[in-house]
Amino acid sequence: MSNSTKHMKTSLKTYREAINEALHQEMERDPTVIVLGEEVSGGAGGNGQDDAYGGVFGVTKGLQPKYSRDRVIDTPISESAIVGAAIGAANTGLRPVAELMFFDFIGVCFDQIFNQAAKFRYMFGGKSITPVVIRGTVGGGWRAGAQHSNMLHPVVTHIPGLKVVMPSNAYDAKGLMVRAIRDNDPVLFLEHKIMYDNACEVPDELYEIPFGEAAFPRQGTDVTIVAISNMVTKAIEAADILAKEGISCDVIDPRTVSPLDEESILESVEVTGRLVIVDEANERCSLAADISSIVAEKGFHSLKAPIRKVTAPHTPVPFAPELEDAYIPSTAKVIAAVREVLGA
């Protein structure tokens, strides 16, 4: 927990609850914040219960009863129209939070994200602002198969004009969501679906976590481990296991991957000389590659061993549990990579 929130009253909240609370409190505070997407309330036009879903993962639950369908808007299955409406509304005075139920659905609305929202400010010579948040669930582990389990953050991190946020725990999730809503640039907020029930102490009040500032869940001097999203959990596990053997890992969680806290990574590698990067995305042109290349360029003289990336292989996400478990980087693979860079 950072200094600024130390004095705040906290309670145990899940990742889901933390994001939900951020949305509730920001909607309360700022009447221009709206939420839209498929099933963000649920039950539209039907005879049953209103707010039947509150998002298929329950993240937007309770918003619609409180703020009405005027501000919590269920939509048809039209992602380009959803995301486009959110962007256009952001250009004209609202602060929309649009949901892509699964971030895999960027395939049907990618133009609005990468060619529109991302580029307006530059193309228009600094004239427009696009304070939009696009939430989406990423990652595997749900046995949801190849079309619902991707990470895809490298694809959007590649695009200038976008910000990409990937919280790894409930505390960060709340503070980063608050920051994302208040930010004046387009933000992709990527929630790993396997973490929704993970809980930690989270302040009850509003607080912001700035973009581009990494967190340091474990500190150490032998090896730097940079891990993203749910991989932070595994990096911590690995670090704790290795600590018992006397191997001291410096675990860095960038929290936002665009902007990226390069300095913290480079400073750590300056001390450790060894780097392992853990990323659930596929390996080619990945964020792992990106971070590796930054260090290979700017931290070259600190490096005592080859950089090791622990990523998903160059395959789609398989359905069968055994295969999916082998696909997603495991704690064991992180440990093996650490040993490797230590030459052990």
């Binding site: 498929e38 039907g46 049953g48 079309q147 069968a320 055994e322």
Partner: protein, 323 residues
Amino acid sequence: MTYSKDFLLRAYRTMKTIREFEERCVSEFMGGNIPGFVHVSNGQEAIAVAACIDLDDKDIIGSTHRGHGHCIAKGCDVIGMMKEIMGRATGLCKGKGGSMHIADIDKGMLGANAIVGGGPPLVNGAALTAKTLKTGKVAISFNGDGSANQGTVMEAQNLAVVLQLPHIFMFENNGYAEGTAAKYGLGCDSLTERNAGFGMPAVCVNGLDFFETYEAMKEAIERARNGGGPTAIEAMCVRFDGHFIGDPQLYRGENEVEDARAKQDCLKIFRTRVKKEKWLTDKEMNAIDAEVMALIEQAVSEGLAAPHPNPETDLLSDVYISY
């Protein structure tokens, strides 16, 4: 119209197979034997069967996330399907696809599709192959009331008209897209009129009535085979289960599902009709029921006994044909 006995028995058997397959998927999922997200199509059997019963293996269908019924109606192996849904190495897709990604090209089943609206553009492609190679084959895409609003579907509708492709767009209007009422998601008063607006013949049928749906399909298929281009059929129906297995369905009205199961059951409607017309007897159909139950039982027990995939050999294979 008159129907051969063989035709009627096949129709009944296939519908019943879908029904029992789906009901069993629910219980096996609940029992922990099926991983992932599973969407079942019980209640909508008549449409799948009416759409596919006249097709052969070279006619192509493209399905959705709710695809088991389409697969079975198109002739996919039920045991292979159950294994697939259970994630086994000997499943139809080696356990790599699962419920939302079953395909069986040899049977003309181009693929389920976990992306809403992902299928119809592809089905245009199958229809384009038929047109280009002059095979006389047709292609059917299955769509929902919800997927109708995906831009990819509407683009596909327009392109099918422009190129006069032998593509029948079957819209299964089961009243819901997840928890959103069809009439909310569709801004228009009538999907059929919107479909007609694209410049293709468009009809609306009672999708609970196998015969009505079949006859509309028959006409559409004939037109398509004769170079008359695409047709849109909106088939009104009900979804007996949740959007996905485990869905609490809070968005449905009181007794809505019970009522539907009692009064809007396409299988019951079929049985009543064929008995009234004296086309089939209870005895004949009961015999089929027993065979179907045995088949499903076999599918489950073979499924549970089937080997799991092996990460060593299976994780990295089948990405490319060569790389």
